[in-house]
Symmetry: C2
Subunit: 908 residues, 2 copies
């Protein structure tokens, strides 16, 4: 027989999968001897059966009945007993916290008779009838699915007729009338009576909690948080205790509070929390009444305060982390209602982790697991100066982090035009569509009044690394009128300046000063510089980050390189802790003033013209390479030969065709435009991503790759002669067959050998390949016979494995896919382990089988994504490469991956 | 010790890999007791060592020496003996025939002394000195690598000074002078003497044959013929016999001939061949002198003739196939010099195969293996009427089969313009480039004067299924002048009509009448109709094709379906033997007049407009489905829901933008163009292939798929009520994740169930998925939980596995890739077994593991390609689907795959 019900005295916190987080932690507190109102937990497995079959498992009812009897015995009261009723609460509790998403029913056990008994034994008629009123209302809404409105209407009417400000001010008689009216509502709406049988109440509440797992809002929440839909929720049935049982006699008062064992905002040591007399927990959390600081309990009820302090100390020592608790004092008796490891800000996470190490409570390894790369990333963004004055005018979802200041524009065209003049703009739209893409690229930040973290604006902004606040609903945006109106009635127009905080979702009026993160200063300039003039809080943060980064570096197995294309980028990457360059995109050297040279190359119709164009590019490439190899002296630099299709360097086809047509109409068309248009037409491709690029270009356009390799080898020789230690590596892009690689590596090697021989220099320049096509991964064993290293290009691999181009689909349908739950997260943000990841894994395995010890890295943007880094660690990659700014994040996550338990990436 | 040398008496014809085709067949003839001049074969393995290391294996020389002694003993003469020299030939012989590609050296053993002996014993001084002259010349060219020119110059000078018409007319003295001069040329060019030592001659000749394996022309030939480069060639050293030893006395005459055991052109029974008195084999083949019909030997030398007829009968019985032989008569003694299974035309292949079955020589299974799908395909093309008068004006490579007649045009623009007026045109270019694509699409046929089967024109034409003749070098094409001049000096201009035969490479002046193939009539209308008025040759062909097709159908495991989108296509496919439709592309129903309706759908800005557009399309779709389901009554019809990106239905973006810009300039722009341009811009994608299409469209555009499924289900219901037996299947395109499939199949099933319920009809409509993305193949096990069938879309799978788009790369670099040997054949023509094929194999395996018996088919164009069909059979696919015209080819090849030995597809 399956055990579907566990008493709180039977479980422990390791059982959260079965008992839910709340139930497991209650059981843990019981096992620690803390005062927890007794109760039992119905398992998630029971919920799963219920959801799958539509009925609770056969054995469940008997187990509930037996556990209820035990509960009644331990409390010395019987559920719904007319004389002295036991009341219970029924609360959800899933494995992962889903705050506010699921249902709760309190005060079960009250009926027309037991309410009288409760009034008598509590000596508080108001409390008893208020509790009954709450039960009927909650049962109607939650269990019977009646809208909340008719209930609220009656309460409002009662308050009005009594001149009462709050519910609590209503008279007992009014409460009794409300109970009667509520029961009538239930009968009207459902045709059934409010159940007087407490067991019927209990069964209904349990099923309501089960059902609430599958509400629309719960499903949406789970999709966003990547929580599987099949987990189900546990249900906790617990004896009620009452913080609202009156604040009367000294030492016999009641109240509720929430508390943290240290400050979750800053990580500072010392308890922290709120307390409210004569109140239930909900009252504290909702903020309806102003709560007192936690230490006020010391004066109100010193005994309970001392006990509480002791319990909190025990909890932190036991959980070895910041704990977040809820408690209630009922007539002078302290009850612990909930505990869990508390959420915290990014800065607090670092400070707490270091602090716990200093206190000897956890090891450095454990400390590493208490912080995340995403938290570190948050600390790297510039922030609005907290000390500066600012006027908050709106609050939305923190859709894409950063701090952006700019003039409001209401259209993509205006954004492009203003940005072209050098003005920072914030693109303000009700919501964005693919037509807004140009404006999003041009804008400094994006602000919308509709949509959340999976809206088009949010998805695209994150993809671009652009600051965005979405769904700021209090702002009324009228794009046609060109107006944005705040809830205070203030109207902003195009040209007005706003500041948006993508990390908090806040929108401010005017320009708020932005400050550089002290953590960036730490990485850029070292700990001493970062500590200069820092306040204590900042100093502690810097010390914590420094300590944990050092530990991550000492523990990580994987190297971290950077993707960088210029000397300054390379230098910055090195300061950020990169141990080399994993991807140098040589095509980025063809932009700006050199565009003309590459145009000459493309337009060359004869070999001699092409040769001239290549010769003109050579010295420029050589000096680029010199600069970067110097910045990365003694560290490996992986140079990718030119990859994109050539027409990317030419003007836009539509624009040019229109220009030539209009000029022709005006009789002002010029020969060079026409020649250029012919070339653009000739090189135009239906699907450039799948066209003439990468190794194909090298095979079709003679001399291009050779020029690049010659420039590189010469640069390396020059440096070596000057006493440097250049470590270049040549990487061939977009290889799909062994023959392609063979032809090109032969040519590359020939050029290297020739230059080295001419210069009389000995230098090993490894030649490797990117693995960025499915076919390359499939034949990785063959490729490894020739390639001296592999670098997985997971951007392109994602595009080909899924068959979608990032340019097109992120804007067109990713937000819809995220909403439908088809992706938990964009596969361009975090690697698709099931598809793309399997290709990478296979490639590594086959490559190393053919060439033991083959160096394998990743140079797609996944190299900076925490979950992806853990996956790459699990399949044995040697290094990840990411943008210079993400290098610290990758170092931290690589360290975390090394100390994390096996397979932990699967839960990332 | 490795055995590198085999006497002819040691091998047999199964050993062609080791001994080469020639050596193995010589050994076979020896084992049959036929009179073969003795000799030995040096193995391909020796050649492989030589090519790899640059030197012959250590053991080889000893083995050659011993074999030479045996040869000398069996002939009773010694190599180069001054009195009565043994002479030997040294010939290449690879596993696969490479006619004319490699080297031969004859008359080895002659030197300044032995030539005198030979003159004496042959009693023919002229013969002896001519042989010596040939040796020195051949040795200089072949072994020493001297250009042929200086030798030819001396011969021409000698002929001129003697007034001799042919080499053979030169006097003995002239021959002797030539030998002296030739030896001087050798000394001048190489600084060494012509070797007098016969063993040195032999060794040099053997190495020259080895080296000739890697000449440029040999490598190019192998690439074209898909022969691996690492096989190497064997070398046959054989005692010389002389057909040019004089035609003197009756019964002691000499001569050479070639013969076939039946007619290789038609397959007709009865020997067939040529004979030339006093000649060597080369003289017969080269056609320098007019040969006599084979049966003239009966008069010249009846004994030899009777012997020859006996040997040929034995050979055909032994090989059980048409044999092609070379023989020599030396002074009345018949020698068999070579045999092999003879090449034949497509028609002959079918007739011979059936004939051999009728004669009881081979089984029907074997007969199936004697014909190929490509041969059948050749028989299906329309041909120029052989009886019609025609003027041949050029001959090129048969680059892409078919018969095309049209007016000459010299530019892509002219082709497009003429074709738009309804004129058939032949695009004539020196060679084609990607800029000619538009013209190639518009033209009926393509003719170039440069390039072979892998040229741009040939590759692209084959991809389009368009008739092409390439590299017709005798035609001088001057595109600028707009002239094409024949070798007879006739000049053709634009507008002149030519006829080109892509199956033979012939170019005719004027319009040659085209006739439908009788084999097509056989398939279209049955055997009786096809035989009406057929001549005997045609009748025999029809009977042969009919018999072999029937056997293929009875043997094949795989079904053959057709890709068809209209009622007439479906009906034709059924006549061609299709057992259903494997791919019905519903988007093809949106073309023509209905384009406006789909435009309305795309431009709809509100749900109601979209709904209206969908409702307008519904009845049209329903009647399409009715027509096709009727044509395929009782057979499965797989309907693919709309797949391409919507902008494919809209006007070209560049053209429209130019039109709007120019109209605006003129003040004539209209609102609807502007609106359309906005829509085109909005829907425009960087990489449409990787964009919003397939299942993504179904998920993003509400109601589209539902409309199609409703139309389909209603059509099926209507037919069922009328007594029909419709068998529709719904196929979801471009699925990459289980969630996509789940959402869509749920919607599809809902629509099907609703319609069936409304109509009160019970009908099973399976819902399946295409596997056309790498990710789909990777997660095929999961997909099979939901999908009721799989259809592999190998076109798209090839594009994503390789990361290239067919539209772009075939034109841009495939010809270069074929030339470089990177592809043996375009992966769009024949499936890439190593890459794409592995994905298909894996998909089938995983799919069937999850859903035993899962139906798996292929609907890419590979479904009609012979090699691909064999591969698909080997991995257990249930059916292939191809264009209606390829259905017979696929049936034949599916039958061949069933009777072929395992793994034979690897050698296809």
């Amino acid at each position: 027989m399956t055990k579907f019900v566990y008493s709180f005295s039977e479980g422990d916190r390791s059982m959260s999968e079965l008992l839910g987080g709340k139930g497991a932690n209650l059981a843990e507190m019981v096992s620690m001897g803390l005062p927890v109102p007794p109760g039992f937990t119905i398992t998630t497995r029971a919920c799963q059966v219920y959801l799958r079959t539509g009925a609770q498992p056969d054995e469940l009812q008997g187990q509930i009945d037996r556990s209820l009897i035990e509960l009644e015995e331990s409390m010395g009261r019987v559920l719904g007993d007319p004389g002295d009723p036991l009341l219970v609460s029924v609360r959800s509790g899933a494995k992962f916290s889903m705050p506010g998403m699921m249902e709760t029913v309190l005060n079960i056990g009250l009926n027309d008779l037991s309410v009288v008994g409760l009034a008598r034994v509590s000596n508080n008629e108001h409390f008893a009838w208020d509790s009954y009123r709450r039960l009927v209302q909650m049962f109607g809404k939650t269990v019977l699915g009646i809208s909340g409105e008719p209930f609220e209407e009656r309460i409002d009417a009662a308050k009005e007729s009594q001149g009462a400000a709050a519910d609590v001010d209503l008279s007992v008689a009014a409460m009794q009338t409300l109970v009667t009216e509520f029961k009538e509502i239930i009968e009207q709406e459902t045709g059934t009576q409010f159940p007087q049988d407490p067991k019927e109440q209990l069964a209904g509440a349990i099923h309501a909690v089960f059902d609430s797992w599958n509400t629309e809002r719960a499903r949406i929440y789970r999709r966003r948080e990547h929580i599987p839909h099949d987990l189900g929720t546990a249900v906790n049935v617990q004896a009620m205790v009452f913080g609202n049982a009156g604040a009367s006699a000294a030492g016999l008062g009641s109240g509720s509070g929430v508390a943290f064992t240290r400050d979750p905002a800053t990580g500072e040591r010392g308890v922290y929390g709120d307390y409210l007399s004569d109140a239930q927990g909900e009252d504290v959390v909702s903020g309806v009444r102003n709560a007192l600081p936690l230490n006020s309990l010391d004066e109100i009820d010193p005994d309970s305060y001392v006990q509480l302090m002791g319990h909190m100390k025990n909890l932190e020592a036991h959980y070895r982390d910041l704990c977040d608790i809820e408690f209630t004092v009922e007539r002078g008796k302290l009850w612990m209602l909930q505990t869990r490891v508390g959420k915290r800000t990014a800065a607090a996470a670092f400070r707490i982790a270091k602090s716990l190490v200093d206190e000897g409570m956890i090891s450095l390894d454990e400390a590493l697991l208490r912080v995340t790369g995403e938290q570190l990333a948050q600390l790297l963004f510039p922030r609005f100066d907290v000390d500066a004055e600012s006027t908050l005018i709106g609050q939305g979802t923190n859709a894409s982090p950063g701090a952006a200041v700019g003039e409001i524009v209401f259209s993509s065209e205006a954004a492009v035009a203003k940005a072209a003049q050098g003005t920072s703009v914030i693109l303000v739209r009700r919501e964005t569509t693919p037509e807004d893409l140009g404006g999003m690229v041009a804008a400094t930040g994006i602000l919308t009044s509709r949509g959340g973290k999976t809206s088009h604006a949010a998805v695209v902004a994150r993809g671009m690394g652009k600051t965005a606040v979405c769904g700021a609903e209090s702002l009324r945006i009228d794009v046609k009128k060109g107006e944005m109106t705040t809830s205070q009635g203030q109207t902003l127009r195009a040209g007005d300046v706003v500041s948006i905080d993508g990390s908090t979702g806040e929108v401010f009026l005017g320009s708020v000063p932005v400050t550089e993160s002290p953590v960036v200063t730490l990485f850029e300039s070292g700990v001493r510089k970062a500590l200069e003039g820092a306040d204590e809080e900042t100093a502690e943060l810097i010390a914590a980050v420094d300590r944990l980064m050092a530990h991550a570096d000492s523990k990580r197995r994987m190297g971290v390189r950077a993707n960088a294309d210029t000397g300054p980028d390379a230098a910055r990457a090195r300061r950020m802790g990169a141990s080399g360059i994993g991807l140098l995109r040589t095509e980025h050297m063809f932009l700006g003033e050199r565009r003309q040279l590459i145009e000459d190359l493309i337009l060359a119709s004869e070999d001699s013209e092409r040769e001239t164009a290549l010769q003109a590019l050579m010295p420029l490439q050589r000096s680029d390479f010199t600069e970067i190899l110097t910045a990365m002296d003694a560290l490996p630099v992986t140079i990718r030969l030119i990859d994109p299709p050539l027409h990317e360097f030419l003007p836009d086809r539509v624009e040019l065709a229109v220009k030539v047509a209009v000029d022709t109409e005006r009789g002002t068309a010029n020969e060079s435009d026409i020649k250029l248009l012919n070339a653009v037409n000739r090189l135009s491709e239906q699907n450039p991503m799948l066209g003439l690029r990468g190794v194909r270009l090298g095979l079709v356009l003679p001399g291009l790759f050779a020029m690049q390799v010659q420039a590189l080898t010469e640069a390396a020789c020059d440096l070596l002669k000057k006493g440097g230690n250049p470590k270049p590596e040549v990487m061939i892009p977009l290889v799909g067959s062994i023959a392609e690689l063979s032809v090109i590596t032969t040519e590359v090697q020939r050029v290297i050998d020739r230059v080295l021989q001419e210069r009389g220099i000995t230098l090993k320049i490894p030649v490797g390949t990117m693995i960025e096509l499915p076919r390359a991964a499939l034949i990785a064993g063959d490729l490894a016979e020739l390639a001296e290293f592999f670098s997985f290009g997971t951007n392109d691999l994602t595009q080909t494995v899924w068959g979608f181009s990032r340019d097109d689909v992120e804007a067109a349908f990713f937000s819809r896919y995220l909403d439908l739950g088809i992706f938990p997260v964009s596969p361009f943000e975090s690697i698709d382990v099931e598809g793309v990841g399997q290709m990478v894994k296979r490639g590594v395995k086959k490559g190393r089988a053919a060439r033991p010890g083959l160096s394998c890295g990743v140079c797609g943007e996944h190299g900076g994504d925490p979950a992806s880094i853990h996956f790459f660690d699990s399949i044995g990659l040697d290094y990840v490469s990411c943008s210079p700014f993400r290098v610290p994040v990758a170092r931290l996550e690589a360290g975390r991956a090394s100390v994390a338990p096996a397979n932990s990436h699967l839960n990332m």
